[in-house]
């Protein structure tokens, strides 16, 4: 990256946090670009997303290396240790989000060749925007060290699940109605699942932020839809 001459312990921690935010930004861009590629059937954009995944992998490895170096050389305690561990966990989670977005982009390439399934593009877009907004919220909370905001994301995973279940049911009906749409519908089903996973990761990130800021696990149980769609 740029000409960083890291000098002090404080600088190292600061660098770590900003690298995580940078990775977060990349993950956000992957998610929203993959959704745009899907809804606009934009093959070039999908390919950009697939190619950019390498950047996320590299940055994640970089964060991993500097975290280990920091822990080994500086032996951080208490808050600083939690910062370092949070950076490590977040970087892994964000890299996973990036992978899921890459997968969405790959599937959008297949879908761009098929007949458009217009009834779903809007619902998928909605669910995607909801998930992207949650990822943005939780990363904002990380940058601002805002516990309330993180908790707000954590306690509202249910909405993404609602969207997923609703889409699942619809896609199933659609496939039963017209077997020719099964290939495309199956891809859409996986895309919805990927988005649902990214939503879950956003809640995980909120949990990590909670631990980073307070030193405690989130106390109560997360509201969760227990029933699977049928």
């Amino acid at each position: 990256m740029n000409e960083h001459i890291v000098r002090s312990y404080g600088d190292e921690l600061k660098q770590l946090t900003s690298d995580v935010a940078r990775l977060g930004g990349l993950a956000e861009a992957q998610v929203s670009d993959s959704l745009d590629a899907l809804s606009r059937r934009d093959v070039a954009l999908a390919k950009t997303v697939i190619a950019r995944d390498q950047k996320l992998d590299d940055l994640q490895k970089e964060i991993e290396r500097s975290t280990f170096r920091l822990i080994a050389l500086r032996q951080p305690m208490a808050v600083d240790l939690r910062h370092a561990v949070a950076a490590l966990k977040l970087s892994m989670t964000l890299e996973r989000c990036g992978d899921l977005a890459k997968n969405i982009a790959k599937r959008s390439l297949v879908l761009a060749d098929a007949e458009p399934l217009t009834p779903f593009s809007r619902s998928m877009d909605r669910m995607g925007r909801l998930v992207a907004a949650r990822l943005k919220d939780v990363l904002d909370a990380y940058s601002a060290s805002d516990l309330d905001r993180a908790i707000a994301v954590w306690s509202r995973d249910e909405e993404v699940d609602e969207h997923y279940n609703s889409l699942f049911r619809e896609l199933l009906t659609y496939m039963m109605g017209d077997p020719r749409t099964i290939t495309a519908s199956a891809h859409l089903l996986f895309i919805a699942k990927n988005l649902e996973r990214i939503g879950d990761y956003a809640t995980n990130i909120a949990e990590v932020i909670h631990f980073e800021l307070t030193g405690e696990e989130v106390a109560s149980k997360r509201p969760k839809l227990e029933t699977l769609p049928t």
């Binding site: 000409e3 600088d11 930004g25 956000e28 940058s143 609703s166």
Partner: protein, 411 residues
């Protein structure tokens, strides 16, 4: 004075007092900013920020004018740029300006409920040989151009699809009337009645589509003016009296005194929100039941989304961006109708979405009412939610920022 030398002096002056004494002082720290230029920059309508390279943690924001602080949601102090904008395109552009010393551009979508699109431009600033590495980062609003294009496409697709059905039925009846029903006065009367209903439906649909597209175009512009919700609701209730009587339903408003529930808003649009919600409630109410209209004058964003009935499922159709300490006025409209099943809730404000089993002709709706409500509420930086117990009714909640919260628009 050239623009860039002015900016150099300005940034130096802004940066100087915030620099810890142990670090090398900015080279031009003794130059005071020209107050007129400073004020001019501060009040520019477009976001402008000055970015400096830092030792660790990526580039830092030295100065951000009022518009930029609103965009970033950031306080006026030195802070790492990546803490405010994570967008990789903008960060790369800034890096290019700082280290490559070339001008770079990127598109920045800020996200959030209003969803604006900006064109970001980063330009190198100052001379790295003699001073700190600086870059000027400016944003111009491209929302109208980008969204306008997308909306036009959507509008055409929606409108043509929904207008086709009533039009096809009109054409069918006209053919019949010119053909074998020509001399049958009874059939002719019946057909003309149906044709009038279909034409009425098309006309309502066109009205709704037009008003929706108008609202969407203004969606990211904060409204001016103040609206007293109590007065607005009273007006709507009065206007709906004939409809209410016809439906055999009672309206039960429970409102705070006049003056206690004032919001910043566009009166006509707020009236449309109330009207659409109450209209809907009346439509789904069985005879001899009541539609309750309740206004709570002072709630927090958390209280506004709290479920009151433990048996109910709740869903937020729209959530405003979080603003610390903002207080809301909550309007709730409840009916005692059939209610809505959980799986329909997420999609209620989608255009033309109709709950299964609900015949579109019977209830005289266009499928756009809630979409209109949602877009108006979003323009007013408010929220929209629905709560329902299948079998015993639904409650729609709208919460809008209080006028005396004073935080609508610029902070």
């Amino acid at each position: 004075m050239s623009q860039s030398s002015f900016l150099n002096r300005l940034t130096a002056a802004f940066a100087a007092p915030q620099r810890p004494s142990a670090e090398p002082a900015a080279p031009t720290a003794s130059v005071a900013p020209d107050p007129l230029h400073e004020a001019a920059l501060e009040r520019l309508p477009d976001p402008v920020a000055v970015i400096a390279a830092a030792r660790a943690g990526g580039p830092e924001v030295l100065f951000a004018n009022a518009a930029a602080r609103t965009l970033f949601g950031a306080p006026h102090r030195r802070i790492g740029l990546v803490n405010l904008i994570r967008d990789p395109g903008v960060l790369e552009a800034v890096d290019e300006a700082l280290f490559g010393r070339i001008e770079a551009r990127s598109v920045y979508e800020a996200g959030g409920a209003q969803d604006r699109v900006w064109r970001a431009l980063a330009r190198p600033l100052g001379d790295p040989a003699t001073g700190p590495r600086l870059a000027l980062l400016t944003f111009s609003d491209e929302t109208d151009a980008v969204r306008g294009e997308r909306r036009r496409a959507d509008f055409l697709a929606n409108a043509s699809h929904e207008l086709r059905t009533p039009l096809a039925s009109l054409i069918g009846f006209i053919e019949t009337l010119r053909g074998h029903a020509k001399d049958d006065p009874k059939a002719r009367d019946r057909f003309l009645g149906v044709m009038q209903a279909e034409a009425g439906r098309m006309s309502r649909l066109i009205d709704d589509l037009m008003s929706l597209s108008r609202i969407e175009l203004n969606e990211h512009i904060t409204p001016l003016g103040q609206v007293d919700l109590t007065l607005a609701i009273t007006d709507v209730v009065d206007a709906l009296t004939p409809l209410v009587r016809q439906a055999g339903v009672a309206l039960e408003p429970s409102l705070p005194p006049v003056g206690a529930a004032t919001i910043v808003g566009d009166r006509d649009q707020i009236v449309q929100v109330i009207r659409n919600l109450v209209d809907n409630a009346i439509k789904y109410s069985p005879r001899d039941t009541a539609v309750r209209i309740v206004v709570s004058a002072d709630v927090s964003a958390i209280e506004a989304v709290t479920v009151r009935d433990p048996a109910a499922s709740r869903f937020s159709l729209l959530d405003p961006d979080r603003v610390e300490g903002r207080r809301y006025i909550l309007l709730q409209v409840s009916d005692s109708g059939p209610g809505l099943a959980r799986e329909h809730l997420p999609r209620l404000s989608e255009r033309f979405y109709r709950v299964e089993g609900q015949k579109s002709g019977e209830k005289l709706g266009t499928g756009l009412g809630l979409a209109i409500v949602k877009h108006i509420v979003n323009r007013h930086r408010g929220g929209l939610g629905v709560e329902s117990v299948p079998g015993s009714g639904a409650t729609f909640s709208v919460w809008l920022p209080r006028a005396d919260g004073g935080q609508v628009g610029a902070p």
